[in-house]
Assembly symmetry: C2
Homo-oligomer: 361 residues x 2
DNA sequence: AACCCCTACGACAACGTTGTCAAGGTCTCA
DNA sequence: TGAGACCTTGACAACGTTGTCGTAGGGGTT
């Protein structure tokens, strides 16, 4: 695995001192087309042709140029290329997500990056922390860097900066949530259908009183997931009981409080549907602490590491952030001329907690 | 454990709804210095001065230029700037990690990105999947893009591409593991000390036979962590018993096998030290499955989400990837002229599994 | 009034590349 | 043998910016 490659570049001065000062550029200018041309004895334009694989260079000259370029370690200057290219493409992609450290967005970024890499595209990544000013500034920074496309999970409300970027020719793809009045590609999880499927799963196991704990309705995905909950109840003819619904907060402590409150009702729910991973984890832990983990059914939206190690395993509606990322990158780098909304399906993963039957059964 | 995966909407697949035509660039060239100059009635050089805050422009002209720039929505072209600048800085940073989707590296990237953002630096991120060819190609791609610095978790063995990049003036910072014969900044977790601390913690609770399950010694961090285990035993005068040591594989199944094998020994260990999060999770689950989670002590290297929700909670030696990222970015963007090795300490987090005493006590 | 200096601005080259066009050579075919 | 076509190569402009230098004009000092 560790390749035994002898660095044959000592002659070129690429040796590294073992300890001491940081290798400051010792006058080692990066070689340019002209340097290669001088060494090969041709004009720099001919080198350009060889490097870009343009036709019309004789085999002999091509070989000589190749050799010179290799010897000097020539790499084209991306800035100059981007500046001069007729189509203005830079071979870069900007990605702007809530938090690249969050598992969901990290997996999404990973998906984007895979596709980009296979296209030879470099990916700028940045987090917004849902701060609108930050989102706008980073969008502009990426536009200034002439990214070929921008993939972003937009904040609610103001999409003017995206509209402007789009009007200046930057291709835009939205992920995780849509934007109103913006005719661009969107890649979304099917939140509503997934949520509905999860609640139907609980109904199938006999539950009629199903508690809902989700995030604030100001969040798009939270609205969709709650809508799926309502749809499932309606379809089964179960009346919506708002005393079973909690839609605020997403911290661990608030979620735990919601679970406690629901279970303390005079007529408590026999099952819970939770609208986000953090809430699901907390709900599972709270049920365990109360010794009810085998009595109250639980299905959560979002899969999470270790969901299968808890006892019982936690049944979830899993999103596929990796697929969302791949799809978004394909749309961003593709040549389609019409904007589309791409919906990525969810997957129900049964692990035990969601298959606990209604107690009367 | 085997999750029952029911595709919830097999019939749906990925649906796309066409919405309309993509906003193609309607001849909207991005405005340049010249456009702003024409509108303000000055030379383009004067606009350049205003935009860059250079002195020597009268207040009246400055105001007129500012107005024109705002009206046109002028953004400087980053490629042209990078091309022309004397210092050759592009305001970009390349990051090359094993997998940006992995929680450890995602947090590390997040730390880098925070610091970079505060400096107005854009971050290229890419995964290598520990593929050397991929690492070398991406390094070259970033060098071609003239990144000001490159932060990377290098593969073992061949560092010629990094040496070359450094010699051409790209600042290099290594994270998570060092490189031999390369005089550059390094930011590392104190693997050895952390591991030693964890094993000492078990020894403090009376354990003498402590099993070790870690990754292959070809991996730097695995070697260091094992060295810490050995150090702790030596310091306590406990002889090293290689029958208690398993150092291969990192998949869930192989880790489970190792736990089973250790516990089946004639004289089984009373405690386990695991050298990686995946192994720790699997060990915890395996102990639970055997009903031994309250009998065999467990300390793992690497914290993981939900370690506190298992019963008992899993005691870990936590790394701080976020801090590693921040420190690496500070070194990469800083002005220090001498290379240094920066060690980030670990933290012991007691949650229960590591505080199970030796049975005879 | 002659001198100088300072301020505010502009003209122009240069960065490293790609696009355009023309020059010179070879080949084909009449 | 000449004309035309093609192939190979080079000269040069241009991309949008920053760095260098020049210059016009105002104000101060002798």
């Amino acid at each position: 695995m560790a390749s035994n490659q002898t660095p044959s570049m000592a002659s070129r001065g690429v040796t590294s001192t073992v300890m001491g000062t940081l290798s400051a550029p010792p006058g080692t200018r990066r070689p340019t087309l002209r340097d290669v041309a001088a060494r090969a004895g041709v004009s720099f334009k001919t080198v350009s042709r060889v490097v870009n694989g343009e036709p019309g260079v004789s085999p002999g000259v091509t070989a000589r140029v190749r050799e010179a370029a290799d010897a000097l370690g020539y790499r084209p200057n991306a800035a100059a290329t981007a500046l001069r290219r007729a189509d203005g493409r830079t071979g870069t992609l900007g990605v702007l997500l809530d938090d690249v450290g969050n598992p969901f967005f990290a997996a999404l970024l990973r998906g984007i990056e895979e596709v980009a890499r296979s296209h030879g595209i470099a990916v700028f990544a940045s987090s917004t922390d849902l701060n609108f000013g930050c989102e706008r500034d980073m969008t502009r920074a990426y536009v200034a860097r002439q990214v070929d496309a921008l993939i972003t999970a937009p904040a609610e409300g103001d999409f003017a900066h995206l509209a402007q970027a789009a009007s200046e020719g930057t291709r835009i793809v939205l992920v995780d949530r849509p934007a109103t009045r913006l005719d661009v590609d969107v890649v979304l999880t099917d939140n509503r259908a997934g949520s509905r499927r999860g609640v139907e799963h609980l109904i199938t196991h006999g539950h009629l009183r199903i508690g809902y704990i989700g995030r604030d309705p100001s969040i798009y995905t939270a609205r969709e997931r709650f809508a799926g909950y309502v749809e499932a109840l309606n379809a089964a003819g179960i009346p919506l009981d708002m005393t079973l619904v909690r839609r605020e907060g997403a911290t661990r402590s608030s979620a735990a409080d919601h679970v406690e409150a629901l279970l303390s009702l005079a007529e408590p729910p026999t099952a819970l549907f939770t609208g986000q991973d953090l809430i699901t984890m907390t709900a599972a832990a709270t049920l365990q602490r109360k010794g009810l983990q085998y009595d109250v059914a639980l299905v959560g939206f979002d899969d999470f590491e270790l969901a299968d190690l808890l006892q019982p395993g936690v049944t979830v509606i899993a999103q596929d952030p990796h697929a969302i990322g791949r799809l978004a990158a394909e749309r961003a780098l593709g040549r389609e001329s019409t904007a589309a909304t791409n919906v990525v399906p969810t997957r129900l993963i049964e692990r035990g907690s969601g298959e606990i039957p209604h107690p009367s059964r």
